[in-house]
Symmetry: C2
Subunit: 205 residues, 2 copies
């Protein structure tokens, strides 16, 4: 008990440290030494708990990628009307990214450098989930005359673009717009409402 407690704790320290370092630096930029330092252990311990860097990375990647589309199919099944579903997704998505600002860039970046890891992990299973339901919901809204015709894929892309991109591009946006940290956070808070209304405004009949 004392032992397994300790094990578990060390493992958690490692995972927490690895998460921070990998999300900031990526696989190739991360240093095992940095992870060890942050976890307040030594390098040998890392290899005791995780055979090698790749294995540790995959653990983090899988966990991280799993957070990307949280409980959206549950949301799509709810009895909210279509516009409120959009409002709800946008708001909760921006909130999630606010709490995990490195998450989208990390997943997308690593996925680009190594496209196979996406398939290897969770994406395949998750695919049919909320995207399918979202598409159906959009088509239904078009057929019922609630919204203007649009390819559901484009609508989905537009939504996630406006939610995730600003956080990914934050350093660039700060430079080209001249805004500071505080102002940036205010803008992102505004977007929880603004993006949804922007979308709805565009598609409503």
């Amino acid at each position: 008990m004392a032992k397994s407690k300790k094990d578990n704790n060390t493992e958690q320290q490692i995972l927490n440290a690895a998460r921070q370092v990998f999300l900031e630096k990526g696989l190739s930029g991360a240093r095992m030494q940095d992870i060890a330092d942050k976890a307040e252990i030594n390098k040998a311990m890392l290899h005791y708990y995780f055979k090698n860097k790749e294995l540790l990375f995959e653990t983090i990647f899988q966990e991280t990628a799993g957070k990307l589309f949280p409980h959206f199919d549950k949301l799509m099944d709810s009895d909210l009307n279509f516009f409120d579903k959009i409002r709800s997704i946008v708001s909760s998505y921006i909130e999630m990214v606010s709490q995990n600002p490195y998450l989208p860039l990390f997943v997308i970046s690593e996925l680009n450098k190594n496209p196979e890891i996406g398939l290897k992990h969770f994406f395949e299973k998750q695919r049919p989930g909320f995207v399918k339901k979202f598409k159906e919901s959009i088509e239904e809204s078009i057929n019922s005359g609630l919204i203007l015709p649009i390819n559901p894929i484009h609508l989905i892309i537009n939504m996630f673009s406006m939610c995730a991109f600003p956080f990914m591009a934050k350093p660039m946006l700060k430079i080209i717009t001249g805004i500071e940290e505080e102002q940036f956070n205010i803008l992102m808070e505004q977007r929880k409402v603004l993006v949804a209304e922007f979308i709805i405004n565009s598609i409503k009949k």
Copy 2:
């Protein structure tokens, strides 16, 4: 002449190779050996032309970052009406990214890992350029009653989000939507028109 021609040629081969490798793998992921192979020279030659990896990288980064917002201030100065300016920017931007699909992710990714490099290079100078003009153009369109009130920054963010994000997230989008390469290209071609109309639809009075 023969000599300088040759010099220049080798340097260009290196730069072309370095561009490919850095844009795909990033600074930390790139290997000097890979660049040498692609340039069909050996590693020693790399160091002859560029003192070290960082210097070569900075050359590529600067050139690359300079392509990010091409001739947009010229476009803002044109006598197109506001909506046509949006159409024009969106279309040419998506075209540019289609031709350089790794470009946005590369710049954004490296900027995140090393925020100073942005300031060090071109961004500071470029800042006042088109963003300022775009903001003024938006404010004018609001005041004249052409479009609904919106914070210009949000509008600019929305526009670039929908233009750039899909290319950055391409591997992810292919997985979660189940589309293939060809279909992806068709969608991106459609977006040259669709994104602009999506925006206009949302803000027009």
